[in-house]
């Protein structure tokens, strides 16, 4: 294992020190419990939005803290959801009197830890609403699974809800909007290579030189199946077909298309994939009204990509376009 780290156990602490050194003018980094908080939090009268999750997915979530997006993020250890006291502290830190949203990706650990935190938050008289993201069509949503994973749509939920909260929409309105984004978003991912967590030092799975893993999540888990590597057009097809069928998306829909890199894939390849996504979308009569291309929700140094499609409505589009000023996503500010 070769990584730009000091020690496997210290990665998250060291990264937070770097984050503080780089962005200390716009966020407050605390170490015990670990959290990254907007420097002007709590913003009075604004719904606070927090998220959290294991580290190793950067820029998500810490890189999305700032005006127009998150008020705080709670980083766990690598691929390990954070603990309830982190979320409870963050909830208090961002409560401006209008209540607090928890954006939670649907993983057993995240859900349980956020649940415990919400119980604590409520105990202190803070109104908390949870938005659970579960957009990964690679997972069957049935009694036989922990339900679908929350992946790419999480980034979109955080941006759009951030815009709405900045616009002083109420807790219920922001929560409802976030749930609508999740309900109208679908994702699927694939890997060319595994990743290596610093603590384990070993690849998360073994892939032959000509194999790809289809239907992966963002924690280095193996996917649904593997196959021989094909051209980008085939990869795009593999990911787009289940996405399009699932919602389903239909001709005339306006969508946001998000091609996400898993951390180790260069931008040039994401644009090659985007070209294929645009072709397929056109064949299906979809109108891509907004797009996002880059590595925003990652799996350490894994090579691969995920595709997220979100069926847009007017409100989502408006808050997607609204100013955002975070280290990871920034425009009009």
């Amino acid at each position: 294992m070769k990584k730009l780290i000091n020690t496997p156990d210290g990665v998250v602490q060291d990264e937070l020190h770097g984050f503080q050194a780089a962005h200390g003018d716009r966020v407050r980094v605390s170490f015990d419990p670990a959290m990254i908080v907007r420097i002007d939090a709590p913003v009075k009268g604004k719904v606070g939005i927090i998220s959290g999750g294991g580290s190793g997915h950067e820029p998500m979530h810490g890189g999305f803290v700032g005006p127009g997006m998150l008020d705080a993020a709670c980083p766990g250890e690598v691929f390990t959801s954070p603990t309830p006291d982190q979320m409870a502290e963050a909830t208090k830190a961002v409560d401006g009197g209008a209540g607090v949203i928890h954006v939670v990706k649907n993983y057993t650990g995240d859900v349980m830890n956020f649940d415990m935190a919400a119980e604590l938050g409520k105990g202190e008289g803070i109104e908390v609403e949870t938005i659970l993201t579960n957009d990964d069509v690679a997972v069957e949503d049935s009694l036989y699974t922990a339900g679908r994973r929350g992946v790419g749509v999480t980034v979109l939920v955080e941006k759009i809800c951030g815009g709405a909260a900045e616009d002083r929409r109420s807790l219920q309105q922001v929560a409802e909007l976030g749930r609508r984004v999740n309900a109208n978003g679908r994702s699927m991912g694939m890997a060319l290579t595994p990743c290596i967590t610093p603590a384990s030092g070993n690849p998360s799975f073994e892939l032959a030189d000509d194999e790809v893993e289809i239907g992966i999540g963002i924690h280095g888990e193996p996917g649904r199946f593997r196959e021989k590597v094909g051209p980008a057009s085939q990869v795009a097809e593999r990911l787009m077909t289940p996405i399009l069928e699932d919602l389903p998306f239909s001709s005339g829909d306006r969508v946001l298309a998000f091609v996400n890199g898993m951390g180790g894939t260069p931008l040039i390849e994401l644009y090659v994939v985007y070209a294929e996504v645009a072709k397929i979308a056109q064949q299906h009569g979809l109108r891509i009204e907004r797009n996002l291309i880059g590595s925003y929700i990652t799996s350490l140094e894994m090579q691969g990509c995920s595709i997220t499609l979100l069926k847009l409505d007017e409100e989502m589009t408006r808050y997607w376009d609204a100013p955002v000023n975070t280290p990871g996503l920034r425009w009009k500010a």
């Binding site: 419990p33 294991g54 766990g76 250890e77 690598v78 691929f79 390990t80 959801s81 954070p82 603990t83 309830p84 006291d85 993983y107 057993t108 650990g109 349980m112 830890n113 649940d115 415990m116 690679a138 997972v139 069957e140 009694l143 036989y144 699974t145 922990a146 994973r149 967590t197 603590a199 384990s200 070993n202 998360s204 799975f205 999540g217 924690h219 280095g220 888990e221 193996p222 649904r224």
Partner: protein
């Protein structure tokens, strides 16, 4: 024969040692069907638990278990943090203020812990989780008439339950994403639960 506060402290030390010793094994099991952090998570948590146990006087066995619970909840994260946290919290509550813990009290505390874990995680037997080691362990204790024998039987039953997770297809937790591909792997959480019973047998079986 009964269980004292110091017995519980020794139990936790042995569990922490087992987790540290088997850290890499737990990581490897979790890499196969999960995200490869179960060993690191439990090791970090149990080190924090020992630290907290050492930092202040524990009134009794129940208080000690609650201390462990809070340490795990605030340091483990992931699925294991809330689940083990709940297990120890429920056990600690059941035993609070009880200076002379008899087999029946102890078995009942485990039952409460198990119920807490199932309430939190909604796992049923056969879902390929820690519950599959927990249930047979608790039931063996409940059937026992002697503490020492009962703990040995519980550890054995947990081991059997742990091994029985191998052929299962996971229906809860991260491994469930794999569907059929989760078969033929031993569940990491069931494995750490087996070590918990083993540590109990070694520490409390007198």
């Amino acid at each position: 024969m009964s269980i004292s506060r110091d017995d519980v402290l020794r139990w936790m030390e042995l569990f922490a040692a087992a987790v540290a010793e088997h850290r890499a094994e737990l990581v490897a099991l979790d890499t196969a069907i999960g995200d490869g952090d179960h060993g690191t998570n439990m090791d970090r948590g149990m080190r924090k638990a020992l630290e907290r146990l050492g930092a202040s006087e524990q009134a009794d066995a129940g208080a000690a278990l609650k201390t462990v619970a809070m340490a795990l909840i605030s340091s483990v994260g992931g699925a294991a943090g809330p689940l083990y946290g709940t297990l120890f919290l429920q056990m600690g509550s059941a035993l609070a203020g009880n200076p002379e813990i008899e087999l029946a009290d102890y078995a009942q505390a485990w039952r409460k812990g198990l119920e807490g874990v199932q309430a939190r995680g909604k796992a049923q037997p056969g879902d390929k989780t820690m519950v599959d080691a927990l249930i047979p362990g608790v039931e063996a204790l409940e059937r026992a008439s002697d503490l020492s024998d009962g703990l040995r039987a519980a550890a054995q039953a947990a081991e059997t339950g742990m091994k029985a997770t191998i052929p299962l297809v996971a229906r809860k937790g991260r491994a469930s994403y794999l569907g059929e591909r989760s078969r033929d792997h031993q569940d990491p959480g069931a494995t750490s639960t087996y070590y918990l019973f083993e540590a109990a047998a070694a520490a409390l079986a007198g």
